[in-house]
Symmetry: C2
Amino acid sequence: MIAGGGPVPRQLIDACRSNGRPVFVVALEGQTDAATVAGVDHVWVKLGEASRTIDALKAAHAEELVLVGPIKRPSLITLRPDLRGAQLLARIGMRALGDDGLLKAVRDELESEGFRLIGAHDVLRDALAQHGVMGAVAPDDLALSDIAFGMKVARQLGELDIGQAVVVQQGVVLGVEAVEGTDALIARCAALKKDGPRPVLIKRAKPQQDRRLDLPTVGLDTVALCIDAGFGGIAIEAGGSLVLDRAQIVARADQAGMFVLGVVPEQ
Amino acid sequence: MIAGGGPVPRQLIDACRSNGRPVFVVALEGQTDAATVAGVDHVWVKLGEASRTIDALKAAHAEELVLVGPIKRPSLITLRPDLRGAQLLARIGMRALGDDGLLKAVRDELESEGFRLIGAHDVLRDALAQHGVMGAVAPDDLALSDIAFGMKVARQLGELDIGQAVVVQQGVVLGVEAVEGTDALIARCAALKKDGPRPVLIKRAKPQQDRRLDLPTVGLDTVALCIDAGFGGIAIEAGGSLVLDRAQIVARADQAGMFVLGVVPEQ
């Protein structure tokens, strides 16, 4: 595993262990939580240290590889690539420092070394979002209209490699996610929302995205933030996003009168 | 004039007066600054009071009409339209509560009453952004690449009626404007920016937008915020945005080593 930030890498590690699957983790300095690798075979590398990463994975006899957890994008100045990392960066060019371009270049580099890339959802099978209402609360017609609009907006944001999430209320886009991340988006929209029917968080995978990379994720923290923000619900892409701790999420959302919905995107 | 918030309505009033052009102002409760209408013939109305607005404009013998200044979008619950306002809302429907849809419906309603709609730039002719570098500082190649990307992103945001502004740094979209407005976008991106080449604020008119409605505006406050945020420059649509107090803006930007650029959008 190459582990980014947040709680998902650890959940994946725990899932592997409970399945008896051996794990080796490449942790990224300044990105991965220390708790992620506690008690797990791992190495710390800097972003850009491509040779060290590949050497460590080979030494660990890794065959299947999963990239999971958000990675803060580096600046051109703070990034100190090794020779191989520099060659990689030179090849993809400046403009590819968007999430998607960078991830795809890293994926290609890793696959060229013979590692088989798998998705987090291949390990956390139960976490892949299903189609339909997940709890006791269902969206009304206005919410469904906001969701349809938000899915369209999120698709275009994804095509431009900007972000995955958007908040819509009463037909108006309250906020759009870019570098700040979903948590900051939710907090901002709490202050921007209007009276009346409540906002909806919509999150979907980038359409051109390799589903093995960076799937949208909804966890307990996301749900707690949406409840605090007074949102009416969360809509995520069915088959294209991860819902972690689903039973607890649904229980909390039900209690708050908030829906959690898996949506099949238009083709 | 139907006046929204911010300083532009007052600047327009002063421009009219110095040209000897009589002005009557419809000020919107909770939106227009009190200072805007000080010493000017005006009436205060609530958003949604369509009949009162039209009656007041007719009583003032208005012929040409300009809509200027941002208007905070109402919620469905706080909006208390009069009969005519309710009929208008029913006709345009919920989804048109985006900026652009709402403004166009209001425009059509006003034109059907015989008023001739003009743009703020028809009065503030000197304020329309010109093509090219406005001060002593020019963008470098990296900034030009960020601007080209930002113009493309802003175009799509505009097509979706989300917002007009975007901040790009080193090929990455730091932030996207929705309901929060440009000032909040700039402040947020100040905290999100990376080391190295500085971010650029890009602002353009929505492509489908009636140029007489809601042109993007850059004022001294915008420039001061961008300087405080450590941005490298501002790029706005030439012929499609207003630069207020240009001489002062250019002087301050020059002093801060920041460029101000008018860009002709790709067709």
